[in-house]
């Protein structure tokens, strides 16, 4: 799920939150700690509409989603961008 806010002064839509669904609670916390340690703002939350294969928890990442994904991949933390 991608959430957008309108920032007309910057010329359009700016991505603010990306939701990464996690396969297990353990990987969710591990991912959260990895991202926070590298200055990426994120929150671990329970999903209201979780995908069947997930653990029901997701990381709500604010900011550079591409960098966040790279960090998780580099540390073998699986995730699905919803």
């Amino acid at each position: 799920m991608l959430q957008y806010l309108l920032y007309p002064e910057k010329g359009g839509l700016i991505l603010t939150v990306i939701i990464m669904e996690m396969p297990s609670y353990t990987f969710a916390v591990k991912g959260e700690k990895l991202l926070k340690a590298r200055g990426i703002s994120c929150d671990l939350k329970r999903n209201v509409n979780a995908s069947p294969g997930s653990c029901g928890y997701s990381l709500h990442v604010r900011g550079d989603a591409k960098k966040a994904a790279e960090i998780l991949k580099m540390n073998a933390v699986p995730f699905i961008i919803k």
Binding site: T26, S54, G56
Partner: protein, 379 residues
């Protein structure tokens, strides 16, 4: 009066921080981990993750590769049965506890695997050579205790790990008597470390750990709820969920975390030195008594455990006499059929196993009492 020298079975007393962690867990971590988004579930889940991380850092592993189990036996069963599910050849040492020997023997009796026993020698290179000689093309795993629960003999586990690496064999290590006393990092050649949480790690009973480097797939032997992929009837593949079905012992995990904190604070080397000093004083108190047999060999290294017998007094009878004076020691065969067969003990041995809380003076007083009892016996 209780003077506990049965710490190889489970440590007692527990450190004050462990007691406090248990109380805190009962009071605050009353939710279920990884199951639900409410405040109680979330703080319990975070607490369990912190225990997982503490164990991972202590043994040089990744948090997701730390599996909480009921005890070391549970961990060894998961490892042996899970790894040998599709057959193959398994080698184990002649000093294994029944927790490793029985699952291996059962699989062999059912003709699902072939099993070989490598004789442990007082000399480490001889032990490694005996393992090497048994390796076959279909050898899948070596199971070896890091230290015997009967004599305390330390095994050449780094060399065995190296041997396994050379032959692409999984090394399953039983760390029940070594963890918390000997510095162990799984990167030293261990693929799967199984240990108790309630012995040298000072957690409460009902706790154990399986820690893997993730190289070898362990098929689950128990399936069930994991909090993940709930709509699927298939057990998740991902660790720790695949091996951790059902609600874990959260209170126990928090006690293990506190126990690890206690060891770190005190220093693993200091704990070992203290316990070994207690053992040396105990042995010194007995060494002039010719009726005493101590199961230690000068060629071998030991964790702080001393197995002994007093002349012809059956081990259980001697332990009973010591118990009358408040001393707690385990006698008999210590759930180690292979080890006692190798040692050739007729009635088992009496096992002296101090902890970080044991006093040297108590070891000396116990030795004096054993001398008195053995000298009174009309032989």
């Amino acid at each position: 009066m209780i003077i506990n020298f049965d710490n190889a079975a489970t440590t007692y007393p527990k450190p004050p921080e462990v007691k406090r962690a248990v109380i805190r867990a009962v009071e605050q971590y009353g939710g279920n981990s990884g199951r639900g988004g409410h405040a109680l579930a979330m703080r319990t889940s975070h607490a369990l993750y912190s225990a997982r991380t503490a164990a991972a850092e202590f043994f040089g592993a990744q948090p997701e590769n730390v599996i909480f189990t009921l005890n070391c036996t549970h961990a060894l069963n998961l490892a042996i049965q899970g790894l040998m599910k599709d057959g193959g050849h398994l080698i184990m040492s002649s000093m294994e506890h029944n927790s490793a020997a029985r699952p291996g023997a059962q699989l062999a009796l059912e003709k699902k695997i072939s099993l070989s026993i490598a004789q442990v020698c007082p000399d480490d290179s001889c032990t490694v050579q005996n393992f090497r000689k048994l390796i076959r093309p279909d050898t899948k795993a070596i199971v070896c205790t890091l230290a015997s629960n009967v004599t305390g003999q330390l095994m050449p586990w780094k060399e065995i790990g190296q041997l396994c690496r050379e032959h692409n064999i999984c090394f399953i290590a039983d760390g029940a008597q070594a963890c918390g006393i000997v510095d162990i990092d799984i990167s030293d050649g261990i693929n799967i470390l199984c240990t108790a949480g309630h012995k040298g790690l000072y957690g409460i009973t009902g706790t154990g750990l399986l820690i893997t480097d993730g190289k070898y797939k362990i098929s689950p032997i128990i399936q069930g709820g994991t909090g993940s992929a709930s709509l699927s009837l298939k057990q998740p593949d991902i660790l720790p969920d695949s091996l951790e079905s059902g609600t874990p012992c959260i209170i126990g995990a928090m006690s293990v975390k506190a126990g690890i904190g206690f060891i770190r604070k005190k220093g693993i080397d200091r704990i070992y030195s203290h316990e070994e000093n207690v053992c040396r004083s105990f042995i010194k108190g007995l060494e002039k008594n010719r009726k005493i047999t101590i199961y230690r060999d000068p060629q071998s290294n030991y964790v702080p455990i001393v197995s002994f017998n007093a002349a012809e007094i059956p081990s259980e009878e001697l332990a009973e006499k010591l118990a009358q004076h408040g001393y707690c020691l385990r006698a008999g065969f210590h759930c180690a059929a292979l080890a006692h067969t190798q040692l050739g003990t007729k009635t088992g041995t009496v096992r002296f196993a101090p902890s970080a809380f044991s006093k040297e003076s108590d070891g000396v007083a116990l030795a004096n009492l054993i001398n008195k009892i053995s000298n009174l016996k009309n032989l």
